[in-house]
Amino acid sequence: MTKKKKITISLCAVLAVIAAVLIYLWVNYGYRTQSQESTSWAMGTYVQQVVYGKNAQAALTTGSQAVTDLEDKISWRVDDSDVSRLNAAAGSTWEKIDPKTLSILKVSLDVAQKSNGLFDPTILPITSLWNFGGSNQRVPSEDELQKFLPYVNYQDLRINEADSTASLKKHYEGIDLGSIGKGAACDEVVTAYQNAGIDAGIVAVGGSIGLYGKKPGNSNWSVAIRDPKTEDGNAGSIGTIGMEGGQFVSTSGTYEKEFTQDGKTYHHLLNPKNGMPQDNGLVSVSVVCDNGALSDALSTACFVLGLDDGMKLAESYQAGTVFVDQNGKVTVSSDLKGKFQLTNTSDYSMAS
C-alpha cells in the first residue's frame, strides 16, 4: 500500500468514526427524527395519527383500518354491526357478538353500575329522539321523554362471556356506544402500533387520544385540552397534560355537539334519568387513565355526575381528571397536579 493510500485511509477512519457518532446522536437525539402522519375519517369524526420508527407507514394503515373495523362492530348506524343486531333482537333472542364488542359492553356496564346509571349504554331510545348532529336535531317533548325513558336501563343488558353473546331484555331498548366508541378505537390503534413494532405513536379519534411508546429523544408526550371558547378550525387550549405511552385521555364537552332552539342551547351530554342535557355548570371533563374505552366512558359519566361525585368515581378507577366549569375554573385531581400546566391564564384559573 502506498504511503498516500495509508494516509487517506487513516484520515478517513478517524473522521468516519467521529462523524458516525455525531450523526447517530443527531438522528436519535436531535429531536428531529422522522415521523409519519395520516388523517382519515371514521366514526363520524377525524382520525389523526403521528408515528415514529420503522414500519411507520404500515402502522398508519393498520391503525386506520383498526378504527373502521371496530366501527363496523359497534356502531348502531352500521347495518350489520353487533350492536345493530342486538338492537334489532331486543326483547327476543340472544345474539353472538365479537369478543371486542363484548369487552366494550362490559366496561360500559361497569361504569354504569358504579355511576348508579348516570352513565348508561342503553340510552339509544332517548338519543334517537334528540338526534344530535342530524339534520332534524330537536328538543323532544316531555311526553316523548316520559314514553321512552323506561326503556333506558343498563340492567336490562345481559352479557354472557362464556359464549360471547348478549341480549337486551325488552323490545324498544337499544344500545348507543357513542360515548365510549372513540376511546375504544384508540385502544385498537395502540394495539396495532404494538404489533407493527414502531417506536412511538399518538392517535386521536375525535377528542379521544391514545399514546404509545416514548417520543424520539426519550421524552414524554404533551397533550393540550381544548379551550371550549374557541372555534373548531382555530382551537386554542386551556392547558397541557404531560402524559406517557400507554395512557389515554378523553374529553366530554358541551361544545362538541349542541344546538339552539327557541333561544336556548342544548348540548349532547344527557342525563339518562331524565333524558335532558345535564346542567351542572360544567363545560368539559377530561379523564386520563390506562385504557381508552374507560377514559371515554368516564369522561361522560364524570360530566353527568358533576365535580365531586365525578372525581370520586374516577379515583375508584385510578383515573385522573380535569374539570372545567362555566366560570373558567379548572379543577385537577391530585394525581394530575404535577402534570397539568394551565396556559390560558386570561380566561381560566385553577381551583385551589
Partner: protein, 173 residues
C-alpha cells in the same frame, strides 16, 4: 563527531518539545480566563493552544505532538475535573492526528487556514462525542454552534500560526 552532533540535536529537540508543551499550557490557561458567551457551548475555547499542537505536528513529528496534546488534556484534568480531561484529550489527540495526516500529503492541498479549520472541527467533533457518551446525548444540540465556531477559531488559529511560524522556526534551530 557525527554522534556528538546527533546527541546535541536530540537534546535540542527534547528541549524544544518541552518548550512547546509549556507554551501550550500557558495558552490553555490564558484562554480559560475569558468568560464564556451564552450561545456557545460550555468549554468552547478560542483554540489558541491548538496552534502549538498544529506546529508540533508539522515540525517535531507525530509522537511528540501527541504527547503535547496529552499534556494539555492532563492539565485540563487537573484544573477542571475528569470530564474535562477526557474531552480535552480526545479533542487534542484527534485534531493533532488529523493535522499530521494532512501535512503528510505531498501535494499539500490545504493552506494554513484550511489546516486550522480542519483541526478545530476535528477537535470540537471529538470533544462532543466524548461529552455525549460520558454525560447526556442532549449536548448534540451544540453541533451547529460548534461547527460555525470551529470554522471561526480554525481560521484564527491558522492565521496566527502563519504569523508566528518564522519565530518558532528560529527557536527550533
Amino acid at each position: 563527531m557525527k554522534d556528538l552532533n546527533n546527541i546535541s540535536k536530540n537534546t535540542k529537540d527534547v528541549a524544544f518539545i518541552g518548550l512547546l508543551g509549556a507554551l501550550a499550557l500557558v495558552l490553555s490557561g490564558l484562554e480559560s480566563l475569558i468568560p464564556p458567551i451564552p450561545m456557545l457551548p460550555p468549554g468552547a475555547k478560542l483554540g489558541l493552544s491548538n496552534i502549538v499542537t498544529m506546529y508540533a505536528a508539522g515540525s517535531v513529528g507525530l509522537i511528540p505532538a501527541l504527547c503535547i496534546a496529552l499534556l494539555k488534556g492532563l492539565f485540563a484534568g487537573m484544573t477542571r475535573g475528569s470530564v474535562a480531561l477526557m474531552m480535552s484529550t480526545a479533542g487534542g489527540l484527534a485534531s493533532t492526528f488529523v493535522i499530521w495526516l494532512l501535512l503528510r500529503i505531498k501535494s499539500q492541498p490545504f493552506g494554513y487556514i484550511g489546516l486550522g479549520v480542519a483541526g478545530a472541527l476535528t477537535h470540537n467533533g471529538a470533544q462532543l462525542c466524548v461529552a455525549a457518551l460520558l454525560t447526556t446525548p442532549a449536548v448534540v444540540f451544540y453541533i451547529p454552534w460548534l461547527i460555525l465556531f470551529g470554522i471561526g477559531t480554525g481560521i484564527i488559529t491558522g492565521l496566527v500560526l502563519r504569523i508566528i511560524l518564522p519565530i518558532l522556526g528560529r527557536i527550533h534551530t
